[in-house]
């Protein structure tokens, strides 16, 4: 297939057609008008036409129509095919029509029974075959995605304590530890301030637990450092998020009876919100890149301002 030379007439015609359709669609911003509806119908028609044509040329023709006439002995041909020497001429000779071709054609026609009211159930057979094959593959897909050597569940087994010399410890250390200890001190400080300002006497239990947990945290940190171990904060955060968000997505009423699981589920929903914040941020970029492409197209190519 030789590459066609760039012909100025056709490129200019293409740009005019492209610019006209772009401006027609932008008119939708102002008000839904007849021009927009006209181009929207053309848009649907072109899409449908392209899909039908490509489905015929790339799937139905080579895999069904070309295999209808079969020459000579079946096994000899299959052997040739196994060696990867598939030759269209052999397929298109004379001889009896391949039985599989006829059967496939008939089964393929079952789709169109959906249009008739009485025999619509026949089309459910073909839908069943597709849904069944999809459902049958679900076990292999879950194994391939979650339980292989670098699968999602296998790679969620993250060590929470790392030997101090391992390479990427420093990076994790300053990025998350700073944030975490700051939050701890902040919460304790606010808690303490409020109590002093209101002059209320907190029950001894809360007083002890907060101070004890803070001291325990610092003691654990120094002990681990001395043993040449470091807390892997990133892995810890990942495992914590996995557990809390999994708790959030449990629906059985039994799972929500004790306070620990309710707390985990609430924390799970907050951590989920942080991941949706990340999706929100990157989605805004995607929306604008489309408009920026339009600006590039109109300014540089149509009005060649570049």
């Amino acid at each position: 297939m030789e590459t066609i030379m760039v012909d100025p007439f056709w490129t200019r015609l293409g740009l005019i057609v492209g610019a006209a359709s772009t401006l027609a669609m932008f008119s939708f911003l102002w008000k839904e008008n007849a021009v927009y509806r006209f181009f929207e119908h053309v848009f649907v028609g072109l899409g449908m036409g392209y899909t039908v044509a490509v489905t015929w040329t790339d799937v139905l023709k080579p895999h069904w129509w070309d295999k209808r006439i079969w020459v000579g002995a079946a096994d000899e041909l299959l052997a040739r095919e196994e060696m990867g020497l598939w030759d269209p001429a052999l397929w298109r000779g004379t001889g009896e029509i391949l039985p599989l071709w006829g059967f496939l054609g008939i089964v393929g026609m079952f789709w169109y029974f959906q249009l008739s009211q009485r025999r619509a159930w026949l089309s459910r057979i073909v839908i069943g075959i597709l849904m069944g094959s999809g459902a049958g593959l679900i076990f292999r897909r879950i194994y391939g995605l979650f339980f292989t050597q670098d699968g999602q569940v296998t790679k969620s087994f993250l060590p929470l304590l790392l030997p101090a010399d391992s390479a990427n410890v420093v990076r994790q250390w300053d990025l998350t530890l700073g944030a975490l200890t700051a939050c701890l001190i902040l919460i304790y400080g606010v808690f303490h301030l409020r109590r002093v300002r209101q002059g209320i006497e907190l029950p001894k239990r809360i007083e002890i637990t907060t101070t004890a947990s803070l001291c325990l945290g610092l003691a654990l940190g120094t002990f681990l450092l001395s043993r040449g171990l470091v807390i892997a904060w990133n892995n810890g955060l990942i495992v914590l998020t996995l557990i809390c968000v999994l708790c959030y997505f449990l629906f059985w009423e039994g799972g929500r009876r004790n306070r620990l699981s309710i707390g985990a589920a609430t924390l799970g929903r907050w951590l989920l919100m942080i991941s949706f914040g990340a999706t929100f941020g990157s989605t805004v970029m995607a929306r604008f890149s489309l408009l920026i492409n339009r600006a590039q197209y109109l300014l540089e190519q149509c009005l060649n301002l570049s």
């Binding site: 392209y50 073909v126 194994y143 990942i238 991941s275």
Partner: protein, 223 residues
């Protein structure tokens, strides 16, 4: 009786793939299934390809009726039908070494008209994001607050200006690093659970489909 035939076909096509996955390949049965898999795969591919005609028939029926009855907007329907058959003709013709004019018209229809139309329709969204940003996005709860703060960091981390801002504020990390940390720690774990939930859901739905345990709304209506 109808329901039984449908369930049989669904079960067979699914059980083939389950058996092929479970049986180790050195067993006799496992090897036979493995040999049959490419041909079954090709057959399913062809059957799925036949479905494309359904969409065309539905569209043609609707718009041809609008055309013959001269209902309002029949010219739009005419435009739709013409562009559909024109596009299909040029695309199929392209495979049989067409004259230069046909390739030109195909490129004009596909590359210039169809692509520009589609991009522009979706580029309208940038306007809607902006107007929604001003009029709809409110911090109305803890959830929305957490989400907005993260979105702020992620968006600033995506653009070069973000790093200038980080230097100016003398933050220990650049915003691109903070964005990558949010993306690859908390967002990674959250999306991993969503992915897990989706696959566990499709596992449950798959088992119900294979054993026909689903309440089939369409069939029940005329079943």
């Amino acid at each position: 009786m109808k329901r039984w035939i449908i369930s049989l076909f669904t079960f067979l096509s699914g059980f083939f793939y389950i058996l092929e996955f479970v049986l180790p390949s050195h067993t006799h049965m496992g090897k036979a299934l493995q040999e049959a898999k490419p041909h079954v795969g090709e057959a399913i591919m062809v059957i799925a390809a036949f479905a494309v005609g359904l969409g065309v028939i539905g569209v043609c029926r609707h718009h041809l009726r609008k055309l013959f009855l001269r209902q309002k907007g029949w010219h739009n329907s005419l435009a739709l039908l013409l562009s559909m058959f024109g596009m299909a003709l040029f695309k199929i013709w392209e495979k049989y070494d067409p004259p230069e004019l046909a390739t030109r018209l195909h490129d004009l229809l596909f590359l210039d008209l169809y692509n520009q139309l589609t991009i522009t329709v979706f580029s309208l969204l940038a306007f809607y994001v902006a107007s929604a940003a001003y009029r709809a996005f409110r911090v109305r709860s803890v959830d929305a607050g957490l989400m907005m703060i993260t979105a702020l960091v992620v968006m600033l981390g995506q653009i070069p200006l973000g790093d200038r801002l980080a230097e100016w504020l003398r933050l220990p990390w650049t915003l691109t690093e903070a964005r990558l940390w949010i993306m690859s720690v908390i967002n990674m774990a959250g999306q991993r659970v969503i992915l897990l939930g989706a696959y566990v859901g499709s596992l449950a739905f798959g088992i119900r489909v294979l054993l026909g345990l689903n309440r089939d709304t369409i069939l029940e209506k005329d079943g």
